[in-house]
Symmetry: C2
């Protein structure tokens, strides 16, 4: 069991409706010691492709810390997509629409064309994978930039929701640190 | 000259209207090697108070990476205030209104009561200080929690704008890694 799985069991909160809250160490309060280890685990997860990765792409806000710690081990920079209004990064951007099942609304993500290029080999890092919409949006942006998507590293995948399969079907090499098979009455069961 | 000041001179963009863009290494693309050094410099900046700090508080999104790297050197956790809608952290929150001069609008920031306590000794970390509204909002939240505000560490302070003086007048120990005295026709002059 890796550090993230341990933290989920000790500090995560399984709420009705298959909601998993990790606010106490990842999404609101950040345990930087744990995050450093999680960053290293992301490296281990994609070590076989480390030479093919020159940039990590994520989405603000909760992906940023994970992406930075992973990026240190790959020794590459991070680019984070901006959500919603993004006038401050200029108008010359790659964009994608992302539907949020949680909020029932669509938002736009954007990356400046200055920071994504055809020669880039991208690893996406994100905190949660449930319906896969954010990663599909990032995949579109990578495609629009003419760059190569090497894979997507996810901290917590709700494997009982459709996102993971959708990404695999879209040809993305998705790997997760904590894939949750099911959440039964507050018990969290990881996939082997 | 510290690493941040060097990066501002080599990679920052001084635009008309006293706008300083640091998207290429801090606010959109993140140079994690530079950020690690900047984190250490934040520690040096508040080393005299390191024993009085048990938590770092920032605001999403661009404060997060800075706060995490600083937090490692202080060996404390980070809490980041959420902007705008924050239903996912529950209703039991400390809030403050923050006016953005850039956007001409007011937004709310919120921190769950679970992660701020009266015994907390808080160092605020943020990327930019211009009009001081975000830090004043965070100060209100720290006060509402009954916690102690030890200081505010700012990456880039536009010392020619009113924020720095407002924070000092509000009794906050504000210290900056790069205090910009003036921006003359694209030239950036740091305060000694």
């Amino acid at each position: 069991m890796n550090i993230l799985q341990k933290k989920i069991l000790t500090d995560g909160e399984a709420l009705p409706g298959n909601i998993l809250k990790v606010d106490s160490f990842l999404n609101h309060r950040i345990d930087v010691r744990a995050l450093r280890e999680i960053g290293k685990d992301f490296y281990e997860l994609f070590k076989d492709k480390a030479n093919d990765i020159n940039k990590i792409l994520t989405v603000e806000a909760s992906g940023i810390a994970l992406a930075c710690y992973a990026a240190e081990y790959f020794d590459v920079p991070v680019v984070f997509a901006k959500k919603g209004q993004h006038k401050n990064i200029g108008s010359d951007v790659f964009t994608a629409e992302v539907f949020s099942f949680t909020k029932g609304t669509t938002y736009e993500i954007a990356v400046s064309r200055l920071y994504l290029h055809p020669e880039d080999k991208i690893l996406i890092i994100d905190d949660f994978l449930a319906n896969g919409q954010a990663v599909l949006g990032l995949q579109k942006i990578v495609k629009d930039a003419g760059a190569t998507l090497v894979g997507a590293g996810i901290a917590i995948t709700k494997a009982f929701q459709p996102g993971e399969k959708m990404l695999l079907d879209a040809g993305i090499d998705v790997r997760s640190l904590a894939a949750i098979e099911r959440m039964d009455g507050g018990n969290i069961i990881f996939r082997e």
